[in-house]
Structures are given as structure tokens and as C-alpha cells.
Amino acid sequence: MSNSPRLSRRTLLAGAGAGALAVTAAGSLTACGNGGSAQDLANGKATLPSYQPITRSHPDLPSIPPCGVTGYYRYPKARFRSVAKTPASGGTISALVAITAPPPTPHDQNRIWQAAEKRIGARMNLTMITQSDYKQRFTTTIAGGDLPDFMLFQKIANYAQLLQAKFADLTPLLGGDAVHEYPNLANIPTVCWQQAAVGNKLYGLPLCRNGMQGPGLYHKEMFDEVGGYPKDADEFFTFVKELTRPKQNRWGIVGHQGSAYSLKTALMLFKVPFNWQLSGGKLTKDIETDAHKEAVAYLRKLYAAGVFHPDSNAPNNRTKNIFNNGSAAVSTDTVTGLLGAVKNQAKVNPKFQPRALKALAHDGSRGIVYLDFLINSFAVLKKGDEKRLKELLRVADFLAAPIGSQEQQLLTYGVEGETFRFDDKGTPVLTAGHENDSAIPWGFIVNGPMELFDAANPDTVKYRYEGVKDLSPYTVKDPTAGQYSATDATVGETLTQNIMDTCTSIIAGRKPMSAYDAMVKQWRAQGGDKMRDEYEKALAKS
């Protein structure tokens, strides 16, 4: 593959683009007196908010570092007030957010929404967009120029410049101990805040998640049948091979669309560095390591052995069902995906024991788990004067209220006696006519540490919690987290897609193993080397 012509044009283009941008940006921005290129502007290290966990919620299952995941079998009894004063002083606060579920009852009939506004002290104007379509609405809103107060952020090309030009720098308001003015925001672990920082500035409010997607899920009862939990890569292979019985409609592994036959599972198995490896100030990309190549070769071997379910690239729902109904022993689904597997498991087959895969290393040593699901995304604040920003942060503080607080109860269930009542176990139940009032996506403006709670399905709490707890000690961070590379922000996803495509084809035997090195070469030529350079410089300054 000769991609060198593309290299020169691509790099030229990226370079010219970035340079020219910085000039234009500087022209329109009087506030930023920092000269130099946009890449430089994004470097450095932000002073992140210091972590001050709230302990008044009394979880049944205690907080797991680093993301502070907790579990609750019952709704906490003693309800404390986490926000003393009315956060806002009238007017309207607007937000553009995503939804993963159908929208709630519209504002004019939604009693929970109205009740929450009363306590917040402002009209909360939420524009909700289905998550899959969110990027389009985000981009048009940016292009249109009328920005809402809060906006769920998307990392589009040159997002550092976008952040700088349009959104508020929250570092002076939240950095260090300043965050203690907002106790519910201080309840968010620093590692999550870092995901909302770019270089030396903090821009966003994180939507915390459980930290890791994990290597995948497995049927414990099936593994028990063939010898328990595997010790290394060879045993894993033997087990899934043994569990593959097409005649009984069962396969070892099912992937999912875009997973490249569970590539990520194999990467953790072979202890491939998470995204980049940093040693002595030098970065090595994961695909440049031998371990990554070994992982691909390993999956190629698995594929050839017929271990993968034939529908391993099917749309998500299908592959979830394949795992849930026992047609595959292992799935690439996330720890969160355990929710669906556990919830319906009793109705599918009471003997099934779907669990999260544990950390496992190919050579039997201590395994690793990528810290790849710290946040969903982060919400940014429109530029404004300090008074307005502080007001917005107070509102965010209100919205981040933890379970067990009056604020959380109000935001989720509304007013006792009107929109909900407590059942005999002390679980809030929405009253008739208000069932759909509750799905207000407050959690897409800011979301504190994950609280696992499902009174109707305590097993989903138990096994998800256990999954996170088992994986947490092994987590590793992406060394470039919180750093910015203009090239990565422009062509990063495209290059990743190329890698996933090539790996998928190699694993499925459509391309020879030799295509791997060409792929790495192509990645370096099309922007990889430039990315490395930018990240190394950024890291040197942080």
C-alpha cells in the first residue's frame, strides 16, 4: 500500500488548518491572550476539582474506587438535604441533552419536572435528542450560534478550539478546593473530571459511569461445566472451543457489531497497553506493540476453530439475545449490559448464571482492565459572567444530588403523595398517571458516581456491583487522557475505524496476517506519527 502521497497532503492539510484556525480564533477572541497555535493552547495540566465523597447515603454495597460505584438493595431511608439554598434566582435555564429512552411527559403536564423547577428556582428548558442522532443536532446548534446554557459535548474535529471559543473555562470556579462550594459536584471522583478537561483547562461536568466496560460477559454455569474459570489464554481457548457445539445451537463467543470479534477482550487478555504506552516520555501506540499483534493472531486462531457465533457482527439486540439465551458462552457486552442479561435470565433459563468476565492475562500473570468507561460524555457551559456561571454550577450541584438526598428524590420521583408513594418496603413507586413523568434526562447535564439501585431486580445490582468490584483493582489508564491532539481530533476516529476494519478482516481470515504490518504503516502515515508527536509534546508540558 503506498499511502505516502496521502500522508503529505493529509499532514499539510491538518497543519495548515490548525495554524490558520488559531489565527482566526485569536482574532475573534479577545479574552485569550495566549499566543501560539491551537495545539499549544490546549496543552498543560488543569487543576482538577479535589474529591470529597459524600458518605451520608449509606449504601448496602460500599463505594468502589476509582469511580465511587455504590449499590443499594433498598431505597435509603433517612433523606438528607444536600443543597441548602435555592440554587437559581428565576429566569430560564436551557440545556441541550441526549436521551437513551423515550422522552418524558412534556413540561406542561409533567408534575415532577414542575416540582423540581420550583426547588431549583428557574424554568428548566430541556431540549432532548435521541442519543444516536445527538451529534447532528449538536453540530447544527454550534453552527447556528444560539447556544443553550448547558450542552452535552461531542468531540468533533478541532474540538479544543471550539471549547475555547464558545464555552466557559470552569477551572477557576471548580479547580482544587473551589469545588467544595458545590458538595454534590465534589462527590465526583477526580479521575472522572479529568475526562472533561482539555490540556490545562476544565470545561465540563462529567456524566460518570462505572469506569470500565470490562472484558465481556460469560455464562458461569457453562464454564463450571468445562473446568471453572480459565487461568490463561490457552485454557480460555480450550474452554470456549469445548463449549462450541453448533449441533446444540451453541458457540463459544459472540461478538457484536463493530467489536472486531471481541478484539478488546483479547487486547486485555494479552495485556496490550490501553490506547498508548508511555515510557520515558515516548509514546507507543497499542497497535505498534507485539502484544496487539499476538491478540489479533489469537482471535484469528479462535475464528478458524469455529468458536465465534456466525452472527457475531449482527446488530446489538440480536447479539445480546444470543448470549442471553445461552447460544454463546461468552459475549463482548459490557458490565452495564449485565443488566439485561440478569433481568430476563430467570424467564429464559433459571439455571443460567450470566456474570462479568474477570481480569485474565494470557500467561497467567496479573491481568489488566481498561479504564474505558469513566464517563459517557461531559456537559459544557455557555460563556457568561461569573455570577451566571456560578448560578449554573449551583443548579448542576442540585442535579448531581446523590441517592438518599431529598433533591435526588424530588428529581426522580417528585412529590410524595402526588407523583409517588412509598410501598411497604420503602421503595418509591410512581402513582398512576405519572409513570412517564420521571424519565427527565437530568443525568445528561451532570451525573454523579453511579448508584446501582433496582428494588425489583436486586440481582442486577448484586452482579453488576460484583463485576465492577472484581475488575477495579486491575484497571489501567490511558496515558493521553485529558490531553489534546489536533490530528487525533480530526482523523482519529477514521484511523481507528481503518484499524478495526483491517483487524476484522484478518481475524475472519479474509486477509493474511501480513496485512497487519501494512495497517500499522498506514496508520503512522495517515496521521499516527503526528498524533504521537502532539501527545508527547502535550504530556511533556503537563
Binding site: 497532503r9 488548518g17 454550534i142 474535529a157 456466525p310 452472527d311 446488530p315 481530533a489 477514521t494 478482516s505
Partner: protein, 329 residues
């Protein structure tokens, strides 16, 4: 009436078929006279024309991003200009050409197999004597049009995939491991089959409308002249369908570089990018995912130009063959 008609103003002369001499007298009109004559017609086009100008042509100015490194927050006026760099990047990428080739493979297959399908089904429906049954069939076959691609792909996976009914049947008759959904060579056919299933019934509607426009007396006259049903099909029905068929064919040629984006995006991983990447998914992964609008616009511009050339060319060809096409020469 194929080619010799050089003077614009003379058009009226050719209006009715030349064989019938009762046409209005041939006379030249000045532009002013024609404007006067056509003023009602012209006025009628004004609202539509305004619509197209405001909602299509004004936004088309947005194509400038093909020559820019467009940043939504800077806008069209302040985004940096990059000349032809977006074109150079795209056309210098082998993956772009592979995607173009895949697109053409699929659209050509669809032209050959899908395009005639609604015509055939419409003729079959039309030939059914029982109008009750005909209506019933008609009101069932269009239903798949309303099922989204996510569901169609899932259904197709469950029928044709490695664990599907069809695969088991094939296995029973000696064709082993015939996983049609994971087979790169079969992919264009699979995609075409899905389109046929989804849209054939829906596509018949327009041909049925053309069929009812055919004068029933023509059939009767042909039958009286001794033409059997096949000859009537050939001499009455098909010529009656010809204008709309040619029209749709030409319009189809215009979109020869576009195939169902969602449908293919959902299935490309099954067969890998080498077989499953088409232009629209290429643009998606090489522009939109990263928020790079320039390369997407560049591809869109080129696609539009090629579509224009094909439509104009096909229209010329239709005229040479004595057909109306989209518009007259």
C-alpha cells in the same frame, strides 16, 4: 420526430403525433407572445420555484465547505480555505475507489434485478381477474416498505445467517456452511435481495397508476384485431408503461452512486470493508464521524456532478430512441 427541429419557437408544430394533421397552425411567436400565452402556466410554477430556490439552492451555497476546512463554530465565512485539498485527500485514497467500485456493483445489480421487479409485479397484479384478490394482494405487498432496516437486517440474519432456517435447509440438501450473510462475494446480492423484498410492492404503486391510464378500448381494439394476450401486453401495455418506466430509469441512473446507507452500515462488518464499504459509508467514516465536513462535501459534489452527467446523457439517449425521458430536448 427524432431530431430535425432546430428552432425553439417551432415546438408547437411537433406537439401531436405528426401522423395526425389536426394540429394548430404552425406559426412563429415572438418571445413576448409566448410569455403572454404561457403567463398562467409560468405563474403556476412560481411558488414551487421559490421553494426550490430558498430551500435547495440557497443551502447549496454550503458546498463551499468542499474547499474549506470547515469548523461549524467559525461558520462559512471564517473557516480557512484549503483549495482542492479535500478532493485530493479523497481521490488519493485507495479505499475511496474500492468503495466506489462496491457501490457500482450494488447499484448495477439493483438496476438489473430490482428495477424491473415492481413492473413485473404490477403486470402480474394487473392480469389478475378477481379484483378482490388483486386488492388484497396489493394491500399486503407494500407493507414491507414500512419496516425499518434495523429490523429487516435482523430478520435477514435470522433467516439467512449461520444459524438461519435457509442455511439449515441448504445444509440438508448438501450445501454446507452456506452462511449467506457473512459471504463477501454474495454481499451485493444479499443487499439487492433485501431491497427487492422491502420495496418491490411499494414500487408497483406508480406502475399501477400508469396502467389504469391506458385506454381500455385499445385492448378491445387489439383483441378484435386478433392479438393474443402476449401481443396485447407487448403492443398496448408496455408502450403505456414506457414513459414512466423510462423516467424512473433515468432518475435511478442519477443516483447510481448512492445505495442504502443504513442498510449497508448495519451489515458491512459481516463482510469487511473491502466488500462492504460503499461511498455513503465511506463518507460517513471519513468525514462525518470525525466531524470533517469538507471531504463529505467534496464527495457529495462529485457524486452530484456524475449524477447530472448520467441523467442528461440518459435523457439524450431516450430522445434518440424516440422517448420523452424526463423532459423534451
Amino acid at each position: 420526430m427524432t431530431d430535425v427541429r432546430p428552432i425553439e419557437a417551432d415546438r408547437t408544430a411537433g406537439q401531436p403525433a405528426p401522423a395526425e394533421p389536426q394540429a394548430p397552425p404552425v406559426r412563429r411567436r415572438t418571445v413576448w407572445q409566448r410569455l403572454r400565452r404561457d403567463r398562467t402556466m409560468l405563474l403556476l410554477t412560481v411558488p414551487g420555484l421559490l421553494f426550490f430556490l430558498v430551500f435547495h439552492y440557497v443551502p447549496l451555497l454550503g458546498y463551499v465547505v468542499a474547499f474549506q476546512s470547515y469548523q461549524p463554530f467559525l461558520g462559512f465565512t471564517q473557516s480557512p480555505w484549503v483549495g482542492l485539498a479535500n478532493f485530493a485527500t479523497t481521490f488519493g485514497d485507495p479505499a475511496f475507489w474500492s468503495a466506489t467500485l462496491n457501490t457500482l456493483k450494488i447499484t448495477l445489480l439493483q438496476l438489473v434485478f430490482f428495477f424491473p421487479a415492481p413492473i413485473a409485479l404490477a403486470l402480474l397484479l394487473n392480469s389478475m381477474l378477481s379484483s378482490k384478490l388483486r386488492r388484497f394482494v396489493q394491500s399486503v405487498v407494500y407493507l414491507p416498505h414500512f419496516i425499518g432496516w434495523v429490523i429487516i437486517v435482523s430478520i435477514s440474519q435470522e433467516l439467512l445467517g449461520g444459524t438461519g432456517v435457509v442455511t439449515h435447509l441448504l445444509d440438508a440438501v448438501g450445501v454446507h456452511n452456506a452462511d449467506l450473510t457473512n459471504n463477501p462475494a454474495f454481499f451485493p446480492f444479499l443487499v439487492t435481495l433485501q431491497v427487492i423484498w422491502k420495496n418491490t410492492g411499494w414500487g408497483t404503486i406508480i406502475y399501477l397508476a400508469a396502467l389504469v391510464g391506458i385506454d381500455q378500448q385499445l385492448y378491445e381494439a387489439a383483441a378484435v384485431d386478433g392479438a393474443n394476450r402476449w401481443r396485447r401486453l407487448w403492443h398496448v401495455t408496455l408502450p403505456g408503461l414506457m414513459p414512466v418506466t423510462i423516467l424512473l430509469l433515468i432518475l435511478n441512473l442519477g443516483s447510481i452512486l448512492s445505495v442504502g446507507f443504513e442498510q449497508i452500515l448495519l451489515q458491512r462488518d459481516n463482510v469487511g470493508a473491502d466488500a462492504g464499504e460503499v461511498l455513503d459509508t465511506y463518507v460517513y467514516f471519513h468525514g462525518i464521524v470525525d466531524g470533517q465536513w469538507g471531504p463529505s462535501a467534496a464527495v457529495g459534489l462529485v457524486k452530484g456532478l456524475i449524477g447530472t452527467a448520467l441523467i442528461l446523457g440518459a435523457n439524450k439517449l431516450a430522445h434518440v430512441l424516440g422517448q420523452e425521458g424526463v423532459y423534451r430536448r
